[in-house]
Subunit: 434 residues, 2 copies
């Protein structure tokens, strides 16, 4: 490449792409000063070039031939904000193999098949940056990739989906049920028309895989992540959480530790969980994201900010563009993928968690003894029991100590089969406490 | 240098240095995998080699000749955890000019004369890393230096001193006065025998200078920082803050904006301030640090973690060592100092702030009118007034809207001269709200 400028190709020009173009334009002088050379946008690949995208963009930049754009000799850095597996993977693989730096916000692709991209980057000696793929504007991946490389990360607990955090924060604040809170989120533009990827935890699971890969120097894919959505969280659950001094968040949890055989391993899961209000993540409201990192030497760290939105995401993309451009000008590369640890993935059944179980039971003599017996049988220790109601119907709320998830699941299964248990009102994991 | 290992010289072996040595030893295999070559500690400069420093350290490594160690041909990276201006500056300048990478935790030196170090680094083509100098373990400088380089930071608000945050958190929780809370902090090891640097804000001011330099691409020194300690914060102030739904924190605030003549400029200050409990910084308790960053595109970000302590600080030092070592192996350098913006420093008098003023006044007809007249005369708009007490003594608590600090200071001066004002019980700035 010529060293007098750094030439960019943009793939996709939706919400994020438009903002990237705007910021490139508006901050042009600052970016040039920080990089040491100007950036030049040489082409934008879109599906429908005719669509209105803000009057500032030169229409001559648009093309429908993304692969052609990627292959152009005068492109130094390819920015991808299209999303999805294909054709993005083909485009980016092509770019990386040809030695072009890639900046992408594509969490789905990185979580499903990051290996292909990393391998292509290694082959082409190119940079692969993806800060915008997790927690939008929050500078999180660079600290994990670089700042904490002299430390050993033991656990990452994150609120990485803004839509579900908005819904749960609203349920916590107003006592609304899931449906009502979802309607509000949709109305305000926080939830998409089809909210499945968010509320069922698919989006968070992709981010969890990326975070776990970086934190533990191990390739983790979305398929390795245990995933449970948050559509089952009820107003009653939230009320129960409040009584315990907790709130409910959809968490992604990536943890390093020994499995049942004592082998160092990684467990990655996404599910709603109760956390104490005193936990720094409990105060993360609205559509904000936050990631809580625990490391052996650094202790507890938290990163907080906007996880979505065109402008915040574009900020992360721009930061990566500056880094990639600087590297090209100085003929260097960022640290490449670090997956030397190759830790095995621990199944969810072996994850040690705590459960909060709410049971509707017959108010008979000996009910508690019977119920407690089921827990004991599965070697699950009970931390607290609260009984409410009298007469015919009583509710037992049981919180356990930590136990393997499989034992807890088996306990719930056996409770369900008991005559004296009318129904299991809710089962929620409890995190972030002693 | 030989590419089969990276050789380190450590200057200083107190609390942080000892932890650095321990972590280098304990995480040796992981560090080698992450760097691609082993690290070797070739020497440790100390004043008293005989002192006990943990049994794991080979006594042959110790020397009292720091400069001699720095000059050794077989040293690739110099790690400085001694602190203070001299002789640290001479050692590090020598190292950098000779092309050796430097990792330092020396906030005082960076804040007083960072320019000399940066110039020496440029001269020698060497890396200068100092993540541990601000907010200990929190990966903060790398995000500011790199991740946000495609964005425009407008404001940085930080709790960057653990000692004073412990004291203020304790005053908030228990209603204790400053003296009592300081005693507790000293007893628990959170405050040093001479707490001046912490409670008078010198430590925070040094960190503020470093943060402002990075955030605004402008050289800012400790002398540019307006500094007011927190020894004057009373139990009554804290109670008054609580009544307003606020707490009091010692904040460092670095802000970019137009001065009175409309010129883009930077203001940097350290002082105690009331902030609303709803602000993310209000919940930062104990000896934790947190830095709240506002950027045009990214919006609000917060970084939270342990700001001090041997092990957390060593985590940051290790992260920098890994980065410096990788760069040496690949023959590259990190982005160097970015000070292209050369923004002027705005004096405190031109900073727009809000004041919370508590006055003991005679309870006479027309007192409020007289007091309000003084505010109006200085063009300071009053947001709220609360009057308490009756009889002979009354207290007026006034919160202003934003106004230039000079106008506020002049208002307080004139109030002090009024007959009807018996005393000014407290003057506190108010931050973080509308």
């Amino acid at each position: 490449m010529s060293s007098d400028k750094v030439r960019l190709a943009l793939l996709g020009c939706g919400t994020v792409g438009t903002e990237v173009v705007r910021l490139l334009h508006e901050q042009s002088a600052d970016l040039t000063a920080r990089i040491g050379a100007p950036l030049e946008l040489v082409g934008i690949a879109v599906r429908r070039p005719g669509r209105q995208r803000g009057s500032d963009i030169d229409p001559a930049l648009f093309t429908t031939d993304a692969l052609g754009l990627v292959k152009r000799d005068d492109v130094d850095v390819v920015i991808e904000v299209v999303g999805g597996i294909e054709p993005a993977r083909s485009w980016l693989t092509e770019a990386l193999r040809a030695g072009k730096s890639v900046v992408t916000a594509n969490k789905a692709l990185l979580a499903e098949d990051g290996a292909t991209l990393h391998d292509a980057a290694a082959e082409g000696g190119a940079d692969l940056y993806y800060e915008a793929a997790v927690a939008g504007a929050i500078p999180l991946l660079r600290p994990l990739r670089e700042s904490l490389h002299g430390d050993r990360v033991t656990r990452v607990t994150g609120i990485v989906n803004g839509t579900t955090n908005f819904i749960l924060s609203s349920m916590d604040a107003t006592g609304a049920g899931f449906g009502e809170a979802l309607d509000e989120a949709t109305e305000l533009g926080y939830a998409e028309a089809d909210p499945t990827a968010d509320v069922e935890g698919f989006d968070a699971a992709a981010k969890a895989a990326i975070l776990a890969s970086l934190a533990f120097h191990t390739r983790v894919t979305a398929a390795d992540v245990f995933r449970e959505g948050m559509t089952g969280v009820t107003a009653a659950d939230m009320a129960s959480a409040k009584e315990m001094g907790c709130t409910i968040k959809l968490l992604c949890i990536a943890q390093r530790g020994p499995d049942s055989a004592g082998t160092d391993s990684v467990s990655v899961r996404v599910h709603p969980a109760m956390i104490p209000r005193s936990h720094p993540l409990a105060g993360v409201g609205d559509a904000f994201n936050a990631v809580f990192v625990e490391a052996e030497a650094a202790g507890q760290l938290m990163f907080y900010g906007r996880g979505a939105g065109g402008t915040p995401t574009a900020s992360a993309v721009l930061g990566d563009i500056v880094a990639a451009a600087r590297n090209r000008l100085s003929g260097t590369r960022a640290p490449s993928e670090s997956s030397y640890a190759h830790l095995p993935i621990r199944p969810i059944g072996e994850s040690v968690t705590r459960y909060h179980i709410s049971l509707d039971v017959a108010d008979r003599q000996g009910v508690l003894a019977t119920v407690a017996g089921v827990f004991a049988q599965h070697e699950v220790s009970i931390a607290t029991v609260r009984q409410s109601g009298r007469e015919d119907d009583a509710t037992l709320v049981i919180v356990t100590h930590g136990a393997p998830d499989a034992n807890l699941a088996a306990t719930v299964e056996d409770l369900r089969a008991l005559d004296i248990v009318r129904s299991i009102a809710s089962v929620l994991r409890v995190e972030g406490g002693a």
